[in-house]
């Protein structure tokens, strides 16, 4: 100890970080809106636990049956299920999880070891990881319920398999984050993903057609999969079941060996962060040029200057938000996918059934467009950061800000719906006049109704989000509840209106009812703008506090 200072061990540092994380979590409850946020989280958490519970029971039953039927080698299939769930869902739901960024602690004299341990351990503090571990526990319980003597071996396999999965997930997460941090690589990744998804749509029908030729090859491929972590975990347990402990240990060691390359890659990544890697959003410095600034594209002269300025700014933000682009392209891809499936169905002599349902294809596609395009509007100020202050210091009423953001969404929806129509036309699935009018009338109801609620939620429960970041991108718990409530209400009411049209025997009844609802929703939307503007003025402290820090 020198001058009252002693160097901490890695584990002392880890203990300090755990205490720090706990205090941050506890103190967050003291923030404004925190209690409501907690309620929202609890309610959404309950839904999640129900979903996890149901699947865990299936894993339990599966493991118990395989053990009882003396087919323990099949347990590998369950481990494959867990691995795919853990790795795939972790990437898809990364934005919804809350993760503490340990990089902020790198200014302290922290060992790389402690930094590594904390980042790995934090892999378990993720809802997807928790669910996956629950599934693994269910497998262990299933095996032990039939053969209790296998509990220690099953538990050891669980621990090791979970450890390997955490390393894989962390590795994928951190490398993807690095990949997505630069605009250029993000764009390339994005294009590759889109191409991958499109290719998949071609592969599925191809597989369906050629399945008879492909299936006999599968048994020849499967032994190669035995060397992968799920195969090794399943085989370790199967050998333990047949009391072949040497083979069990061999598979166990082989599974442990899988940890090494992923731990190494993760160490490299975290080491780069530890040494002060800086991931910049934009391209390298441009060559010096002292030219006048480029005048932005001319916006519509139909809207006032400040609204045009906000739309222009929103377009700039949209241009730089890959996730938003993905949201815009997904509905079109989905339409492409379903129209391809329907194309295949036609060739299988199901034309009559298809023609009955294809009329509502447009309705469904538009519903999906609205679902994806309007979802961000429930936390509309998420990406403003400190810039939000401009909306309060500039001489504009907040209704202009709301209106500009809503107008841009309307524009995007119009473009998306037009693209959907073009796709349907190309595929020969153009909707009939009744379905076309009903869908447009339903849009007139759903869009203003959603926007009114979304505008209110954006002001009442704001949550800061960041570009290019994979984690900590979850909306407020209350927002999630509001979104769920709105979707259920609007979905059910639309369903009732469609059914009313069918029951009445007059297909135009639905369109008529939707038009009435659209008139009411639009009036409500227009009437809400001024109160929402005043509400934003009153809530400006909460907004600035939540989004500017």
């Amino acid at each position: 100890m020198v001058n009252g200072i002693s160097s901490l061990t890695v584990w002392q540092e880890v203990a300090l970080l755990i205490r720090l994380r706990w205090r941050i979590q506890r103190n967050q409850l003291r923030q404004k809106n925190a209690k409501l946020e907690l309620v929202g989280l609890i309610v959404t958490g309950l839904f999640f636990f129900f979903f996890v519970g149901v699947i865990a029971f299936a894993f339990y039953e599966g493991a118990a049956t395989m053990t009882r039927d003396n087919r323990m080698s099949w347990l590998a299939l369950l481990f494959w299920g867990v691995l795919l769930f853990w790795q795939v869902f972790s990437v898809f739901f990364a934005s919804l999880t809350t993760v503490f960024d340990f990089r902020t602690l790198l200014r302290f004299p922290l060992h790389l070891g402690a930094y590594f341990v904390m980042n790995v351990a934090y892999g378990l503090a993720d809802p997807i990881a928790m669910a996956a571990v629950t599934f693994l526990l269910a497998i262990v319980a299933g095996v032990a319920s039939v053969r209790p003597e296998l509990l220690p071996a099953a538990f050891a396999v669980l621990l090791l398999f979970a450890f390997v999965n955490i390393l894989i997930e962390r590795c994928i997460g951190f490398w993807i984050e690095k990949l997505l941090s630069k605009r250029r690589t993000r764009e390339i990744t994005f294009v590759l993903m889109i191409l991958g998804m499109i290719s998949l749509q071609f592969v599925v029908p191809l597989f369906a057609d050629k399945s008879k030729q492909i299936l006999p090859w599968l048994p020849r491929v499967l032994p190669f999969l035995n060397g992968l972590p799920p195969g090794l975990a399943g085989r370790a347990l199967a050998y333990a079941g047949s009391a072949d402990f040497a083979a069990c240990a061999g598979n166990f060691v082989a599974l442990l060996a899988w940890a090494a390359p992923f731990a190494g890659l993760l160490w490299l990544r975290l080491g780069a962060q530890y040494r002060g890697e800086l991931l910049l959003e934009s391209e390298a410095r441009a060559p010096a040029q002292r030219t006048a600034t480029k005048t932005p594209a001319k916006p519509s002269a139909l809207v006032p200057g400040e609204i045009a300025a906000i739309i222009q700014k929103e377009l700039c933000y949209l241009k730089r938000n890959g996730i938003a682009w993905m949201n815009l392209l997904l509905p079109l891809l989905l339409v492409l996918l379903f129209t391809m499936q329907s194309f295949t169905q036609r060739h299988h002599g199901q034309i009559e059934a298809l023609s009955r349902s294809s009329g509502w294809f447009f309705f469904g596609a538009v519903g999906y467009v609205l679902l994806l395009v309007l979802a961000p509007s429930y936390n509309a100020f998420a990406f403003e950061g400190r810039g939000l202050q401009v909306f309060f210091t500039a001489p504009v009423r907040f209704r202009s800000v709301i209106l500009a953001k809503n107008l841009l969404l309307l524009l995007l929806i119009a473009v998306e719906v037009a693209a959907v129509l073009v796709l349907l036309h190309v595929r020969g699935l153009w909707p009939g006049p009744q379905q076309f009018v009903t869908t447009l009338a339903a849009m007139g109801y759903i869009i203003p109704a959603q926007l009114t609620i979304a505008n209110w939620a954006s002001i009442a429960y704001p949550r800061k989000l960041e570009f290019g970041s994979m984690r900590n991108q979850r909306a407020s718990g209350m927002t999630v509840l509001v979104v769920l409530g709105t979707y259920i209400t609007l979905g059910l009411s639309s369903f009732v209106v469609i059914l009313a049209g069918k029951w009445s025997g007059n297909p135009w009844v639905s369109a008529g009812v939707f038009l009435l609802l659209a008139a009411a929703a639009t009036s409500g939307y227009v009437a809400s703008l001024d109160p929402l503007s005043s509400f934003a003025e009153k809530k400006r402290e909460v907004l600035l506090d939540a989004l500017c820090k």
Binding site: S282, T291, R386, V396, R540, L544
Partner: protein, 266 residues
């Protein structure tokens, strides 16, 4: 006589039991370069937030250029430029995009906004990185951009919170000259800074806030007159400031408690 540029009447802001700003009466005349000083947590930022519309007062009134803020907020905001706390930048825009946006928000037409944006970027020496996002600007560059945005609409009252912090000496010199020219043309500048030398050099009038209350307000000469200077020298602003708030034992902590830090290591 012209209306005061800034006039507050018993302006108060409470946060629960804490009174951050306690019934302050500020009066700033047009064309004044006004320094607003106070120790950390004294209420400076809260006052500026209220004066710029970022925070609603609990009670009291504010008039900017004779316009009541509560009843005519938009007209007031049109006359005002501000560099808010944290600079208030949209970090995913380029400098030019941001200045164009702010210009348009203040009602400038497209061509004027673009022309002024280009000129300001040139003046602030930011024009050579047209494709760089604000997020990737250095702190000093962000500060210069925030200043440019605050003046793009030619405000009559300008609020500056630590305007020179992080700005290089060359740019700071040019900025000081610009601000001085603006005050000569009747623009009122309301500046907060912890660097008292800057305030002393630039400001003609000063107010000091301590624990939410105004403890002094007037021209530098008026404030100097109230403090006895050491023989043969002029009272500095630092001496004035310390005499106003430094007498408070909670305002200036004792070094004795930190003997482990101030004594030479054994």
């Amino acid at each position: 006589m012209a209306e005061p540029a800034i006039l507050t009447d018993k302006l108060t802001r409470r946060f629960g039991n804490l009174t951050a700003v306690d019934a302050i009466d500020l009066r700033v005349e047009p064309g004044q370069f006004f320094g607003f000083l106070g120790p950390n947590g004294a209420g400076k930022s809260t006052t500026i937030k209220m004066l710029t519309g970022l925070l609603a007062p609990t009670s009291g009134r504010m008039q900017i250029l004779g316009l009541d803020f509560a009843t005519r907020p938009l007209e007031v905001k049109r006359q005002v430029g501000v560099v808010p706390e944290g600079m208030g930048l949209f970090e995913r825009l380029t400098g030019a995009e941001y200045l164009n946006f702010v210009g348009r928000m203040y009602g400038l037409d497209r061509a004027t906004a673009a022309q002024r944006a280009a000129e300001l970027l040139d003046f602030m020496q930011l024009a050579d990185r047209p494709r760089t996002l604000i997020a990737d600007y250095s702190h000093g560059m962000q500060k210069k951009l925030a200043l440019a945005a605050a003046v793009i609409h030619r405000p009559r009252v300008l609020y500056l919170d630590e305007p020179f912090e992080g700005v290089d000496a060359i740019a700071a010199g040019a900025l000081k000259e610009l601000l001085a020219r603006m005050t000569e043309n009747g623009v009122t500048i309301f500046l907060t800074s912890h660097v008292l030398e800057i305030v002393e050099r630039l400001c003609s009038h000063v107010a000091v806030i301590h624990r939410g209350r105004l403890v002094a307000q007037g021209s530098l000469e008026e404030l100097r007159a109230g403090i006895a200077a050491p023989e043969g020298s002029t009272t500095t602003l630092e001496q004035i400031f310390l005499s106003l708030v430094g007498g408070d034992p909670t305002a200036r902590p004792s070094l004795e408690e930190l003997s482990w830090l101030t004594e030479s290591p054994r």
